[in-house]
């Protein structure tokens, strides 16, 4: 089985079949990232196609000494953010405490019994909806960790940040997700 780096080299030599293989390898992961960030199938498919077109056009910039996966995932995240930004459908925040500080008072929430909610699948739906409300930076780090099961190094390369900060970012993203959930429950008067 040819490695990704070999396939990229073959693609640069004009072998379209090599790029087809790269598409088949990464189309699901790329689509997963984008679908989780957009929540719409058609929009996610269009952006995924745009991602692969961009990857092909910028393939000569790829450093073959590094892994291809994080590189294409970074392009996917950036392309998705750029596309959502054009449609004003995105919350852009850096990995700072801004989002957390706004909901600091909710940290001592009484969560109630989650088992009952889980049975009706209502909790799953709430969590997924809350994930969609997160800033893109939080969405991407959670998707890379939990959906794609990437390690810290791969996430760091995909996001272009230091590896040591990944755990902190994931923790903040989880906190943010929990606060969005609590806010939803409070708005509905649902005490858990």
């Amino acid at each position: 089985m040819l490695t990704d780096e070999v396939l990229t080299a073959q693609t640069l030599r004009g072998e379209v079949s090599a790029f087809e293989e790269l598409i088949n390898r990464y189309k699901n992961s790329v689509f997963t990232i984008i679908y989780r960030m957009t929540g719409q199938y058609q929009e996610a498919e269009d952006i995924t196609q745009e991602v692969f077109l961009t990857v092909y056009q910028k393939l000569y910039q790829f450093d073959s000494s590094k892994k291809f996966g994080p590189w294409i995932h970074r392009i996917a995240i950036n392309t998705c953010i750029s596309s959502l930004r054009k449609k004003n459908k995105i919350i852009l925040l850096n990995y700072d405490d801004t989002y957390i500080n706004q909901h600091e008072s909710e940290s001592q929430h009484n969560y109630g019994n989650p088992e009952a909610a889980l049975e009706s699948n209502e909790l799953k739906s709430d969590i997924k909806s809350a994930l969609m409300e997160l800033p893109a930076s939080y969405q991407s780090v959670l998707v890379l960790r939990y959906q794609l099961d990437l390690n810290n190094q791969e996430i760091a390369e995909a996001l272009g940040v230091n590896k040591e900060n990944i755990e902190v970012k994931i923790h903040r993203a989880r906190k943010a997700l929990r606060r969005v959930l609590c806010k939803r429950w409070e708005e509905r008067g649902d005490c858990r």
Binding site: E15, N24, T32, F52, H171, R192
Partner: protein, 328 residues
Amino acid sequence: MNCQDINQVIYDYCDGKISSDLYLEISQHLNECESCYNNYRLTLIENEVLKDTEDIPSLSPAFTQLVISSLISNKCLYSKPAPLVIRKDKSYTFFGAAWFRSLAVVAAVIALCLYIPRWPGTDIKNVANNYDSAKQQETQSSASLNEPIRVGQVDPEVISQPTQQIKSPIYNSDNKIIREPFGEGFASRSSISSSPTSKVIPPPLQDAEVVMFADNTKSNTSVTVVSPQNIPDRFKLLKTDNDGQNKIAYNYTTLDGRDNLDIVVITAKGSTVASDNLEIPPQLDTTSLVRHIEIGNIKITVTFSGTLSTEDLNILADTIQFKAEDTK
């Protein structure tokens, strides 16, 4: 460890990224605190949902081909490098290119032409000798032109050359002169077009200038011949400038070289001469005189100019005559 401490490490506890001592301490707290236990359960459910990919729809099977088609339609595919055998082909090399070979041949010819005069043993003297021998050959060939020429025997190239100097008259099949050497004139302008002298034996050879105009209104073979006659002997012809259409200029100078005479003949057949052709810019220290002359249906406008006085120019204008004939 209180509930706030548990809240800070609950994610690591659920992910198993915690020390065994801390793990036991947190587990003991979760057994005692219902709120923290619910928090722990919610975190586990969150993890389950975050890892869940079952709800993600799959891409269409034709997605890959869709991307490839987009690349092809956008014409942004990376081109395959040429096979090695083609790269070895001389046509792909700089020095083997066809255009370069052609350029090299042209450059070599030009260089050869420039270098031949400097060739050892080919000095200026030798070139001059070559010129003299060439002039002798020209004299010999011009001698053949002194023989009477009849239409049908005339070399078409001779007729087609407007500035060709011919030192003998040219006759048509009816023994009429269609070209006459210098000196064979006409008694009057009215007799120019039907000169009875055209049937006589050719006169002694003199310097003569025969001018031919291509008649654009007729077929390509029609030629109008106009020539000045009765030029005084004190003038000699320096050069003739024919524009190839209807204008010809003769440049004469006196034998002592003091004065010059320019005669510009503009021919118009069947119509008046265009006014723009008549506008001849005056020159310093020169006088000019314009005469309109009709020779049959041919109208010519002659401009006499030169360093001569106006009186001399008028005398010359009255003296010099013109002959014009069409021939096919």
